[in-house]
């Protein structure tokens, strides 16, 4: 077996299908969209090559900058609300004596459900007339609120379902990590007199560090690419208050028919993702060395 795996030809042969798929599905579209981003094109008629004009316009476009700010806010929420909650759940669930698997399944359910379904679900929660939230508030004596129709609340309200949906995903990854920690260690800690909180803080979390790094990366990239749920919930409105770059890209490309400009935005999102991933790796690496 080792002999085969060290044979370069064999490696090439085995890698070829995967590489082919990656090239065709990932790399080629990126390159093509990079090329489109240099065009002034309505997606149907003739295209004119205009160099980096789309990019110059992009950075002077207030609507675009606002959308980037929105997505960065969501990144912060993902990292500082979603992940800590996932970690907490993972630790608690892994310490549960009864129904452990049941809880894992329950928390994982939102991940399996299609985002469109979740969007519809939360739309009904937020609905101003008969929404669950308003009905609850009214029964407590407060007045209702048009959650997704008010600029001030729409952004937060469209982020919450996203945060909620992927908590289970990160929890599962962390849970798998916790379960793979040898019980010897925690038992040793118990004998030394550590309580559960101390075990979690001093033993579980430090050992879990590589897993947490993976979750941070996933969460960050996922936050930058967020599209579907917001699209279903608000479609970027009201007054562009919930627009993130991906939604703005969709609108410029398909509603305003600026294919080139839309491609420039998608290129920006790709570069943004690469950049953040690189920064994360750099940070993690430095900390490991330290």
């Amino acid at each position: 077996m080792n002999k085969i795996l060290s044979n370069k030809k064999a490696i090439t042969v085995f890698m070829a299908p995967a590489m082919l798929i990656i090239v065709v599905i990932v790399l080629v579209p990126i390159v093509i969209s990079l090329y489109y981003s240099l065009l002034k094109w309505d997606g149907i008629g003739k295209a004119t090559f205009i160099g980096i004009e789309n990019y110059i316009n992009l950075f002077g476009d207030e609507r675009f900058i606002a959308s980037v700010k929105n997505s960065l806010l969501y990144v912060v929420l993902s990292l500082f609300i979603q992940l800590p909650l996932s970690l907490l759940l993972a630790i608690v669930v892994s310490n549960t004596k009864k129904l452990e698997k049941f809880y894992v399944t329950v928390f994982f359910i939102p991940v399996i459900i299609s985002s469109v379904v979740i969007g519809q679900l939360w739309q009904k929660v937020y609905n101003g007339d008969y929404g669950l939230l308003n009905v609850l508030l009214r029964s407590l004596g407060y007045s209702g609120h048009d959650w997704l129709g008010d600029e001030k609340t729409a952004l937060m309200c469209s982020f919450i379902p996203n945060l909620w949906q992927y908590i289970g995903y990160h929890m599962l990854i962390m849970y798998a990590g916790i379960k793979s920690i040898s019980t010897d260690i925690s038992e040793a800690a118990k004998i030394d007199g550590a309580n559960r909180f101390q075990t979690a803080m001093r033993i579980t979390i430090p050992i879990l560090k590589p897993i947490i790094q993976v979750c941070v990366t996933f969460s960050l990239i996922g936050a930058l690419k967020i599209f579907d749920l917001i699209f279903v919930l608000t479609g970027g409105g009201p007054f562009q208050s919930t627009e993130v770059p991906t939604i703005y890209m969709y609108k410029t490309t398909f509603d305003q028919m600026h294919y080139g400009y839309g491609s420039a935005i998608s290129t920006f999102v790709i570069i943004e993702c690469f950049l953040f991933t690189a920064i994360l790796r750099f940070i993690f690496k430095n900390r490991e060395d330290a």
Partner: protein, 460 residues
Amino acid sequence: MKKRILSVLLCTTMVASMLAGCGSAAEAPAAAPAAEAKEEAKEEAPAAETKEEAPAAEASEEEQITITIWHQSVADTDPVKKIIEASVDEYHELHPNITIEQDGVEGEQYKTKIKTAFAAGEAPDLSYMWAGSFVKPFVDAGYLLPIDDYMNPDVKAKVLPGMLAGSTFDGKVYSYPTITFLADLYCNKEQFDAAGAKIPETWDELLDAIDKLKAAGYNPIMMGEKDLWPGMYWMDIISQRCAGNAGVEAAFGDPTKFNSPEFVEAATRLQELVQAGGFNENYLSTSYTEMVEGFCAGQGAMLYQANWVHPAIMDDAAATKGKVVCVPFPEIPGTKGNKSEFSGGSSDGYYVNAATEHPKEVVEYLEYLSEKIGTLGFQMGAGLACWDTSSTDLSALTSLDQESAALMEQGTSYIGWWDNVLSAEDSDTYKQLVAEVMAMKITPEEYAEKMSKLSPSEFY
């Protein structure tokens, strides 16, 4: 141990990315039949050429043709959906060698899908197109086939006068009309009576009706501004009342004319309605579908929409069945517009792909389908007639259909929905501005000033 965790992780990511992949791949199968059909057609093309002289009967035995059609009629209450679906079998019976494959996708998604399909060369033989600025880029890019050479004069003669104008570009006809639409004000008579309000004919009566309806505990107007275009319809017609259709047409040709007292007044009037509490409370987060459903469930006394809402209003399950009247949008005294000027009048239709292998057969089906939708659709209340319906039994028309058809006859001037007149980008800007006007985020003066920066429309 670490390795095991890693492998678990890798598996998880792989599954996740595969699932993610499924989402975008889902559209591929839909496009596949079109591509397949084309390939089939290509193989058979040489055979067709050699047999061109042969009688039709022989050809029908030999040559199997598949015609693909994409449309946006998906609502179960939409008669057009039923007509298209029924035409698949009917047409196959009439022409056993021809198989029709139809595929419907909801409106906004359809717009994206059809653009992508044409760009990728995977468009169907026949595709639904909105009139005006939606179809024009496709015509300009040469994606669509002028059908003059294939048109059957007998069929052409059945189209009402002037109705081919909407699908004629540079003197060439690209499609047949189907049904046409007119935007009217729909009033729930039951609620008006209960509130003691009068069906409005003038602006003051409209404001008065709003007050009375509110006082009686009814929501005066249903609005679904989440989708932006329902609000646009209001601004369209109020502007047409304030400036007159001629004034609006002049502004389309020279947008600097948007920065004039007429259009400032239009925006002021719209804000007046908002301030009077005319619209449902959550109109900014209400979608078009929710708006129509809401009106049909009796959640609003007025709805300003085109007559494609008739089947929903007259549905057996609707609270509004038989209780709604339709009237022209109220006049505004002292302005240039009047009641005989309407929003609408344009006809959407089905257009032939320039790359089709069987233009003759496709146009024949187009003629068949357009006339079917034009007559049956009218009969079933989907829209107003663009075809000679003198031999059609119209006894099944609802009161709403008849009222709406009568209004159409009074009409002297029509302007299509503004987002079909303005370019795609300007339409988006206009719709956003209307939403901002409605939410009082900009003043009428700012609105008029911003509208004057649009580019001239290609149609005026």
